[in-house]
Amino acid sequence: MSKAAKVSSSFVLVAIAVLLSVESRVSAMPGPQAANSSQFEKLLTDRNIWGEDAFRVFASLDRWKGEPSILVFTDRVVGGSKFETPEQAREKAAAMARTMGRPFSKLTPEFATSYKEALARKAAALQVESVPFMEDDSYRLQWKREGAEFLKRQLTMRAVVATYGAPEKTTTEVVHARGDRRPAVLTISEYAGGMLKFVQSDLSPDPGMVDRVVLDVPAAAARILASR
């Protein structure tokens, strides 16, 4: 083999080695979807965000089938679907109430471990109601129980950012009611590819607090529930 040929084949080998190394490093890096999924799972088990009652809701997400999202407040959980009339909401609530006696669904192993204590705790059943939703004068489905804590009280956006970094996206939404009272101006901070949104409301006593978390029901159920 000539000297030139030896040099050229060495270059080819080095290039191949470099390419293989780059490829292996790239495949080892989590893609955006995997990163979202990992963050989503961490968020769904974070006891600095959720009260213990939230985990009972998460383990029952199959009851919310058909809802695109739920709004988790400190003292209640509200469906994302808006009903024009109380009758429509009542009908849905009655159908949902019939599912509440079922045991919790089977959970995926990581969530089964994380939620075990919360699910084992004795607690009165959550009440399913149809309620007027003041913010936009719609009617919604609601889960509630006296004394329950779903979203941690006093949770600030500052604390969320300290743990999870800046939100991927922040938007503002003005929610008008039927009348002309002051609308709610919502600041929405998205995490995990928008599967979980922290919402601050300018109508809250302290607008720096997280007023509610909007949870993508199909996405959360797909991760938490094993039977799906």
């Binding site: 007027p132 003041m134 503002t172 003005v174 008008h176 039927r178 009348g179 002309d180 009272r181 002051r182 609308p183 101006v185 300018d202 109508l203 809250s204 006593p205 302290d206 607008p207 720096g208």
Partner: protein
């Protein structure tokens, strides 16, 4: 709370010198000031939907409410106060949470009675909507006391402070009743400072829902309400609907509202007008927009002779929504209307007030979308001839695009503040800040003494 302060007319000499050389219809320097500072507004709140009231005992004492801090269980929501004619301001956190779990302020309006006591109508949200009139039961800056709950949407407030009124001290709070199949303009009246209130339907909702309920009190104690009937969108361009603006009257302290018949009188005659009903006032393709649904009517009474002035929005032959002002000299029975704007830009959000010498002022907003962004302009127009002609000043031109706390869909609120005390107009609007570290929406105060230059008595009269 009566306050006596030394009177000083020295500044009037300068005013007379200034105006003596002018042949303009009316003089008076326009004073404009951002009332917020970084220290007073550390959270950079939007300070929307401002209202203003002036203490009749001492017009240097001015109070403003805006959507600033909310009340909590521990701390009241603020009233902005000035004791030096609006030069400097403080926030007095005296609007306490009316009941545990009730959120607010979610709508508000304020006024003073003849003794200089402040009253504030507030809307609170919980499982439902409740309105309250707060009253002063202690020192001027002590926590105010909420009265009986009443009402629903958008409570306003007028207090009868005329010495010639047999109902002096009564207060009236118009609101919109959403519990009716067709919403009805309703007025809560109280003869005991809001401790107890009695709500009576005042608008005609037999065929169409009502909206935009505003009140005014004449010096004889007769109370007037203006409201619109929403009559559908047939033939109206997007964002507009057909309407009538009606005035009705109560001659008995709000017990009945039939002084001008059961339906009241249309201030623009029998024909319908087209007015705004939109959440997109402005040009959404060129920036942020505003809600204009109850932003199209206001009423005021001359505090001396009781002449009535109604300002309303009408899209006219110019193709633009314009501000019209109608006048009645016979307690609302007949009206003569004329346009107050120049027919070149869409205009809305009129508030109207009248000084003791009959000068009429109108605060309104128009927008100019000829350039690359929408520019909103706050105007203050004055008429020295009962609404026949108008002098118009642009108070501020604003592009809300760069203002981080300006939310598209609700920029300054449904209405703003204008009142008159003696010969001076006092107003407040939500506009672009000045002197703040961060450019933002702030409450902007203005005042303007308004006398014709030859009205020597007007200039010599101390407004404080």
């Amino acid at each position: 709370m009566k306050t006596i302060r030394p009177r000083s007319n020295s500044y009037l000499v300068a005013a007379l010198v200034f105006c003596g050389g002018s042949l303009s219809a009316g003089c008076g320097k326009l004073f404009v000031r951002d009332i917020a500072t970084d220290a007073l507004d550390p959270s950079s709140l939007s300070d929307t939907e401002p209202s203003i009231a002036v203490n009749p005992q001492h017009p240097g004492d001015i109070a403003v409410v805006t959507f600033s801090e909310n009340w909590t269980a521990a701390t009241g929501a603020p009233v902005w106060k000035s004791t030096d004619h609006g030069k400097t301001w403080t926030k007095v956190f005296q609007l306490v949470q009316p009941n545990p779990g009730e959120f607010g302020p979610a709508d508000q309006k304020l006024d003073f009675d003849s003794n200089g006591n402040i009253y504030v109508a507030e809307l609170a949200l919980a499982g439902g909507i409740k309105d309250y009139v707060y009253r002063q039961t202690g020192a001027p800056n002590a926590p105010l006391t909420p009265g009986a709950s009443y009402g629903n949407d958008q409570p306003h407030l007028s207090v009868d402070r005329s010495s010639s009124s047999p109902l002096k001290g009564h207060l009236y709070s118009p609101w919109l009743d959403f519990s009716q199949p067709l919403e009805r303009s309703t007025v809560a009246a109280s003869g005991n400072q809001g401790i107890a209130v009695n709500s009576v339907g005042a608008g005609d909702n037999s065929a169409f829902p009502n909206r935009t309920s505003r009140s005014a009190i004449a010096p004889d104690g007769k109370v007037y309400i203006i409201y619109k009937t929403r009559e559908g969108t047939g033939g109206a361009p997007p964002g507009f609907e057909n309407a009538h603006f009606h005035v009705n009257r109560s001659d008995d302290g709000g017990l009945t509202w039939t002084g001008l018949g059961s339906a009241g009188i249309s201030v623009h005659g029998a024909a319908q007008v087209q007015t705004y009903f939109t959440t997109s006032f402005g040009n959404i393709a060129k920036g942020k927009v505003a809600r204009a649904r109850s932003s199209d009517a206001w009423i005021a009474a001359n505090p001396e002779n009781g002449d009535l002035y109604a300002a309303y929005v009408q899209r006219d032959a110019s193709g633009f929504a314009q501000i019209y002002v109608a006048r009645s000299t016979d307690q609302g029975a007949t009206w003569t209307a004329a346009r107050a704007t120049d027919g070149t830009h869409n205009s809305a959000y009129p508030e109207i007030a009248v000084t003791k010498r009959g000068v009429v002022g109108v605060l309104f907003i128009d927008y100019d979308d000829a350039g690359s962004v929408t520019l909103f302009r706050h105007h203050f127009a004055r008429s020295f001839d009962h609404g026949s002609s108008w002098d118009d000043d642009v108070l501020q031109t604003m592009n809300p695009g760069p203002l981080s706390n300006a939310s598209s869909g609700f920029l300054w609120g449904d209405y703003e503040g204008l009142t008159a005390a003696k010969n001076t107009f006092y107003g407040v609007f939500t506009g672009e800040s000045s002197g703040r570290t961060t450019l933002q929406l702030d409450p902007i105060f203005f005042r303007q003494k308004s006398c014709r230059w030859w009205w020597t008595g007007c200039w010599l009269e101390d407004d404080d």
